[in-house]
């Protein structure tokens, strides 16, 4: 049992010791780090291929149909077919596009997405590096994505791409704020910004302590990645692919993959922050991590299959008027409770009911606001629309 739990760390230790017998220390470290990087990136890309398949199947089943089932058993080779298709497409660069920025944008969007995997603990002791500012590093990487979107939108020399880029950046910036506030409340409970310590300190998963924060984080995560119901930026019926409208072939594949890599990364972070990372009773830690991660991803795909899209003003409304107050209230509650009560288990008994009360209050307030809007709309319709004189 212990052996299976620690199989990867033991493997790397053994390999390191063996290399140390005939190589200088710095070279051994170089090789070990290189192997770790390749393994993590390989895992990330394979997981992402699997995610594209899973998305199509899950969304299809929600719609009472089967997803792809022709290539391979259960359609498992479908992502390879998609990859081949994208590789053989012609690479078109618009004549008046800014060539440097145009070619650089897919690269700039892919790299931060991959860099997030450096700090995520996949299991007990299985992480690439234990930065003691882990969470801050991740939020910063999310901001680089916005830069890549602006680059893509501007260099396409297409006003619709530019509009799409503006909207993307507006959405991402608005949803960074509640996300950071929720992360602040998690860090307050833990006392450290390092992701490894956050997992280690979660004897009670934080979702039980702060379910409202989990819901807020889930909404922000969906918006950061650009998934339904927040996919105004790339929905075909809205703005025909938004900021990457002029891309084709492999560059488009880069954007497409970056979205899914971001999706997996964001669910991995959600698992680490709220669901207890790799902690779990019987199975090895990395299996628990994968189970929790795919549960979050399934929930995000469930959201995509269920809800219609938000309009851009409704989206920003939601971020600034609903999520930010909820996140601030959450910080306040966490701050007060952690100072007043000292035992962890009493935290659970106090914060969980408080969160439920906050959730009910928020939902009823939202419901009342909606009622008011409906009544107002009816009045306007009854009065007659404003006439032009």
């Amino acid at each position: 049992m212990e052996f299976i739990n620690n199989i990867f760390t033991n493997l790397m230790d053994w390999l390191g010791n063996w290399l140390l017998t005939f190589l200088p220390y710095w070279l051994m470290r170089l090789i070990i780090d290189f192997i770790v990087i390749v393994a993590i990136l390989g895992f990330a890309v394979v997981a992402v291929l699997f995610l594209t398949w899973m998305e199509r199947k899950v969304v299809a089943r929600i719609a009472d149909r089967i997803g792809p089932n022709r290539w391979g058993p259960f359609g498992l080779f479908q992502p390879f077919a998609d990859a081949i298709k994208m590789l053989i497409k012609e690479d078109i660069v618009p004549a008046k596009a800014d060539r440097w920025l145009f070619n650089l944008a897919p690269v700039v969007i892919m790299i931060p997405a991959l860099l997030i995997y450096a700090v995520i603990p996949f299991g007990d002791g299985m992480y690439a590096t234990d930065l003691n500012i882990g969470i801050l590093y991740m939020v910063a990487l999310g901001s680089i994505t916005m830069l890549a979107m602006l680059m893509a939108g501007w260099s396409s020399d297409n006003k619709y791409a530019l509009l799409g880029a503006f909207r993307s950046v507006a959405q991402l910036v608005s949803y960074e704020v509640p996300m950071v506030l929720v992360i602040v409340s998690v860090v307050m409970l833990t006392g450290s910004l390092s992701m490894v310590k956050i997992v280690e300190n979660q004897n009670i998963p934080y979702i039980l302590l702060m379910p409202v924060a989990f819901v807020v984080y889930l909404c922000c995560a969906a918006a950061e990645v650009g998934r339904s119901p927040f996919d105004l930026l790339e929905a075909d019926s809205e703005i025909v692919a938004g900021y990457f409208i002029e891309y084709s072939g492999m560059k488009f594949a880069m954007f497409f993959l970056a979205e899914y890599i971001n999706l997996f990364a964001v669910s991995a972070i959600c698992t680490t922050l709220f669901l207890g990372g790799w902690k779990g009773p019987i199975l090895p830690p990395y299996i628990w991590f994968l189970i929790k991660c795919f549960a979050v991803i399934f929930v995000l795909m469930w959201f995509r299959g269920t809800w219609p899209r938000f309009r851009i003003d409704q989206m920003l409304d939601f971020a600034w008027k609903v999520l930010v107050p909820l996140a601030l209230l959450n910080i306040f509650v966490v701050g007060v409770v952690t100072k007043v009560v000292t035992n962890e288990w009493i935290w659970l008994a106090v914060m969980l009911p408080l969160n439920v009360v906050i959730a009910i209050a928020a939902l009823s307030l939202l419901g009342q606001a909606q009622q008011r809007r409906v009544v107002e709309a009816r009045e306007i319709a009854a009065r007659g629309w404003p006439q032009r004189t």
Partner: protein
């Protein structure tokens, strides 16, 4: 829409999601004859019903939709049930009625009421399926079939009498103008 409505929506979709797996299991049991018919949606006709429950995907090469009765496919020649030969008497009314010149090269043998066609050419590639030829035929010898898989690897779009008769046999049409 905010509030409880979103959660109700989530409940509806997750019921659909798990429901499809249940339908899969029922279809499997039905195929292995462990369950009586009529429980899982079987056959393509059932899947066209408006109030269908369960998966409605038609797995194409293995299951095909049969087109509706008035569907306009390519032309076929019908056989005379007594003699087994073509009903067509090579009168040429269809050739004259066709707006496109798709039917050509009609020859026949025999005298009077015994005359039957021996040559008949029909160009599927240029037919617009308007059915004027069928309306013009005084002997109910031709009809439009319900065939829709017309792709081919060679350019052999001109069908002769043999092919038209065999397509007619395959289509199972008994009389011209049955459903009009």
């Amino acid at each position: 829409m905010y509030g409880v409505g979103v959660l109700k929506g989530l409940w509806v979709t997750i019921k659909h999601y798990w429901g499809t797996y249940l339908w899969d299991v029922l279809a499997y049991l039905r195929r292995e004859k462990l369950l009586p018919r009529g429980i899982a949606p079987a056959g393509t006709a059932k899947r066209l019903e408006p109030r269908l429950e369960g998966l409605f995907t038609v797995q194409y090469p293995e299951e095909r939709y049969r087109m509706f009765d008035r569907f306009r496919g390519p032309l076929v020649q019908l056989r005379d049930p007594e003699t087994g030969g073509p009903r067509c008497t090579a009168c040429g009314m269809c050739e004259r009625a066709c707006p496109h010149g798709v039917i050509f090269g009609i020859e026949g043998e025999g005298k009077g009421k015994e005359k039957r066609a021996t040559q008949y050419h029909y160009d599927v590639g240029r037919c617009i399926f308007c059915r004027l030829c069928v309306e013009a035929c005084p002997f109910d010898a031709i009809e439009l079939s319900r065939e829709y898989e017309l792709g081919s690897y060679e350019r052999n779009f001109v069908w002769d009498l043999e092919k038209l008769l065999s397509m007619g046999d395959k289509s199972g049409i008994q009389h011209a103008g049955d459903h009009w």
